[in-house]
């Protein structure tokens, strides 16, 4: 059993992140205790992507939790954000090129922040997740993630195609 992980209050700079030569990350706590080969995860990646960021040691035990990314120093924050971007491979849909529905499955071609991509999504509660009235997460049949942060801010044609086919 490890000790109760610290939850950073507001004090920035209580932890320090170091990028090692071999590419892995180390964490040094305020107490001077250091951990190498850590991983960084979001506690609630869908609903609170920028809050409650947890640092895990190499065996997966929690070491430390940050309530808000802004509590970290600027350099640490960049490191954390880079690491999170590499860990959570989720694309943001910018435009829907085409949608077709067949037997409860959506065949969709979309322009994302990573480029053009085709995706196949089963129309079910666990693969079309409405995070709010406007924000929706699509998980395709392979488990890849596609997010639409605000369906209202898509162009009207894309929004219409989605609304007609998703519910």
């Amino acid at each position: 059993m490890t000790d109760q992980p610290e939850l950073a209050p507001n004090g920035a700079g209580r932890v320090r992140l170091i990028r090692q030569m071999n590419g892995s990350l180390s964490l040094v706590l305020g107490s001077g205790k250091s951990f190498s080969g850590i991983s960084i995860v979001r506690a609630a990646p869908l609903s609170r992507p920028n809050n409650f960021i947890c640092f895990l040691d190499s065996t997966g035990q929690e070491i430390y939790m940050v309530r808000d990314l802004s509590h970290l120093s600027a350099e640490d924050r960049v490191l954390v954000e880079t690491e999170l971007q590499l860990r959570y491979i989720s694309s943001i849909i910018r435009r829907i090129v085409s949608v077709r529905r067949e037997a409860g499955t959506l065949y969709c071609k979309a322009e994302t922040d990573r480029g053009l991509r085709e995706l196949v999504v089963r129309n079910a509660d666990d693969s079309v997740r409405w995070m709010s009235e406007r924000r929706v997460l699509l998980i395709d049949v392979d488990g890849n993630r596609f997010e639409i942060p605000n369906i209202g801010s898509l162009d009207s044609k894309s929004a219409r195609m989605l609304r007609q086919n998703l519910w």
Binding site: G23, L86, Y88, E102, T112, R114, V141, G143, R145
Partner: protein
């Protein structure tokens, strides 16, 4: 291995000046620079690993094989990362999405093997992500492309199910023909009545004959209708019953892994929904479709015979009707889908609230549940209104178009009657045919919908019906080999997902008749270890031997008749206690059942029940307590009289007293058979001959209880924690 070879490999190598090397594998990832979708390549030759991105020719990484120490695949959320590590630093990384993850897990293992042994043995099984014919992305790896399904093959397979009922469907066809002819007769008879009797007042007996014809036509139609209904309903029900039968027989013989990959819900829906769609189509859709076609054909022939110019007038609005029908059915189908899914959500909400009513009440959440219900209820209301609105629009427009046709016919026909080119009877007959012609048209949209749904249902049925079953499930011809019960695990590595091994290099020997305790924290692979012994899954590497023979060489019947498992989550079938115990060995006598129950310490509680061994256990055994269920499951396994018995936390739900009793029984049960006992409580395995301690998928300690305690290792920690909890109790 050749599947791993991409065609562009040689071109890439030529650019790098490595064309003299032998290419072993060449695979494309799908995330490139800045993690944008791209196709960077990983090429493995006999001397190098090359990472190459076609979009950015400068960022090419060439890694010499002898620098490589390890190759790992890290699983990320929504994808993965392949990391090639040298002695001190990372030599290269490659990112990809989940779509190609399994491919890279294999290639990573392959490269590691190559650096160690100089050989690269890839079990090349490349998942098909896109349809081979049209290039379209598939729903699920190796799935079926809904566009390119071979309709002909599908129908041919379905017709195989029709074959045994040839007499019935030929009769059905005949009935349809007669019925179509009978539908045409009345209008012709009325024409005769109008033209000859009303106008020229001929003899009464002609009138009688014509009225009799009308009556005969009506009677025939009524008879045909009845016969058609009965025949098609019977045929549809019979065929789908055959399909369900075949499907079930197939599914129970699937390997465990295949069953895992289908959720119970999906399988259930294949049985219920997909086959119901086929039933609906075969039972009512197909005959209706054929009937309408025949009648339409007949009407056209008769109309052309009566008056070609009127036929043209009648056909004039047909393209409009067809177009409108096609258009509206597309919308209607969508809103109907929406409606059924909103109704499904409402019923889920109701059933969840009612199942969890105690929790709702305990936490005073009645009002929130009500609000939630109201939301779903309103949604059903909205969507239903949308469906009604759409169909209302549909029918009003259809009526308008049809009446347009009627006006046209009255006008053209009327003018011809005035010019004496046409009789009144013919005009009236044409008008009544017109309605018969238009009516089926509006249902064509629905029929084609039901046809495509039936086709999808058929394809999904065939997908399951054609999946491979476990090998060697048929009874073996040679006599069953008697197992003595020695077990050897040799370097066994296994993961449900190859990239996440649950067990790593498990190596141990068990003598026949030994009692082995297996302990470890939950999630360390104890149950998995035993699943492998039962051959519910195959190890990824290594092998398991029973009596020195690889378990893959035993037939499944041979193996499973002699290896019995009492699983963690005891499952009882609805029925009596006796039936549940007898499931272990169907031919057992009642004395043997009682003996097994005694051995499992279940006999006394069974006698305490009002109906004794005849007591019903409820569905899944829910009328019994957890401990009672476990003891019946143990009795069931004991009755099977296996040479190897596995108790997977089978005594975890028992109170201390019953467990003590089972302890005593265990000594009897395990006599002369190899017994594996997985347990949380140390007391359960204290008497075991030897203990195996698992941690994170590896064996960390093994030996007798006292030896391990003296080592003050993992077991010692375990024992300390245990004594604390015991004090607490």
């Amino acid at each position: 291995m050749s599947d791993f070879l991409g065609s562009d490999a040689s071109a890439i190598l030529q650019q790098l000046g490595l064309e003299s090397e032998r290419v072993l594998a060449c695979v494309a990832a799908d995330l490139g620079v800045k993690l944008r979708f791209a196709a960077p390549w990983l090429v493995v030759t006999d001397r190098h690993v090359v990472l190459f991105s076609p979009e950015d020719r400068k960022s090419c990484t060439e890694i010499s094989l002898n620098e490589i120490r390890s190759v790992k695949v890290n699983r990320l959320v929504g994808g993965g990362r392949l990391v090639i590590c040298g002695a001190e630093r990372e030599l290269g990384t490659l990112y990809f999405t989940n779509s190609v993850l399994s491919k890279f897990v294999e290639i990573a293992a392959g490269i590691e093997l190559l650096t160690q042994t100089g050989n690269m043995d890839l079990q090349a099984r490349i998942d098909q992500l896109r349809c081979k014919a049209c290039g379209r992305l598939l729903a699920g790896k190796n799935g079926i492309c809904p566009k390119c399904i071979d309709r002909l093959t599908t129908f041919r397979r379905l017709f195989q199910y029709l074959a045994p009922y040839r007499v019935t469907w030929i009769a059905l066809l005949a009935v349809l023909l007669v019925s179509a002819a009978a539908e045409l007769a009345p209008a012709l008879a009325i024409r005769q009545i109008l033209d000859h009797i009303v106008r020229s007042r001929v003899a009464l007996n002609v009138l009688v004959a014509l009225v009799a014809t009308l009556l005969a036509a009506r009677l025939t139609m009524w008879l045909c209708e009845t016969a058609k209904g009965r025949l098609s309903a019977w045929l549809g029900a019979r065929i789908t019953a055959d399909m369900r039968k075949d499907l079930f027989n197939r599914v129970v013989h699937f390997p465990t892994r295949t069953i895992d990959s289908w959720s119970v819900g999906t399988l259930l829906s294949r049985f219920v929904n997909d086959i119901a769609r086929l039933d609906e189509f075969l039972g009512s859709g197909a005959p209706l479709l054929m009937m309408s076609m025949l009648v339409l054909l007949g009407i056209l022939v008769v109309l052309v015979y009566l008056s070609p110019s009127l036929t043209l007038a009648i056909l004039f609005p047909v393209p409009l009707i067809v177009l409108w029908t096609w258009l509206i059915w597309k919308i209607l189908r969508r809103v109907q889908d929406k409606q059924s899914s909103s109704v499904a959500r409402l019923s889920v909400q109701i059933s969840e609230s009612l199942t969890g009513i105690r929790v709702i009440k305990a936490l005073c959440r009645e009002d929130e549940e009500y609000l939630c219900f109201r939301y779903h209820n309103d949604r059903v209301c909205d969507v239903t209104a949308e469906v009604e609105r759409t169909s209302f629009t549909f029918f009003t427009v259809i009526y308008f178009l049809m009446n347009l046709g009627v006006l046209l016919v009255w006008y053209t026909g009327g003018r011809q009657v005035l010019g004496n080119a046409l009789t009144v009877g013919t005009l009236l007959a044409a008008v009544s045919y017109l309605w018969m012609l238009y009516w089926p048209l509006q249902w064509f949209g629905q029929v084609s919908n039901s046809l495509s749904q039936a086709l999808t249902g058929a394809v999904q049925f065939l997908e399951l019906a054609d999946s491979p079953v476990e090998e060697q499930t048929e009874p073996t011809t040679h006599a069953m080999r008697q197992i003595r019960g020695s077990v050897r695990f040799q370097e066994v590595t296994f993961g449900y997902e190859p990239s996440e091994p649950v067990l790593t290099k498990i190596d141990f020997d068990v003598l026949a008749g030994e009692v082995i305790g297996v302990i470890g924290r939950s999630g360390t692979g104890k149950t998995t270890l035993m699943n492998l012994l039962c051959r519910f899954y195959e190890p990824n590497q290594g092998a398991i031997f029973i009596d020195g023979v690889d378990i893959r060489e035993y037939s499944l019947n041979e193996l499973r008749a002699q290896v019995a498992i009492v699983p963690q989550d005891t499952f009882l079938f609805s029925g009596t206690i006796e039936e549940n115990i007898r499931y272990g060995r169907p031919g057992a006598s009642f004395e043997e059942i009682v003996a097994a129950a005694r051995a499992a310490n279940a006999h006394n509680f069974i006698l305490g029940k009002r109906d004794g061994y005849d007591s019903l256990v409820g569905s899944r055994g829910d009328r019994l307590s957890g401990g009672e269920r476990q003891r019946i499951a143990i009795a069931r396994a004991v009755l099977a009289d296996p040479q190897i018995l596995i108790l997977d936390e089978a005594t975890s739900s028992l109170d201390v007293e019953s467990e003590m009793a089972i302890q005593k029984a265990l000594a009897r049960i395990s006599h002369n058979r190899t017994t594996f006992i997985i347990a949380h409580r140390l007391s359960t395995i204290r008497s075991a001959d030897r203990l195996i301690v698992l941690d994170q998928g590896r064996i960390v300690e093994s030996g007798t209880y006292d030896q391990l305690l003296a080592q003050s290792g993992v077991l010692w920690n375990f024992a300390n924690a245990f004594s604390e909890t015991r004090d607490f109790q």
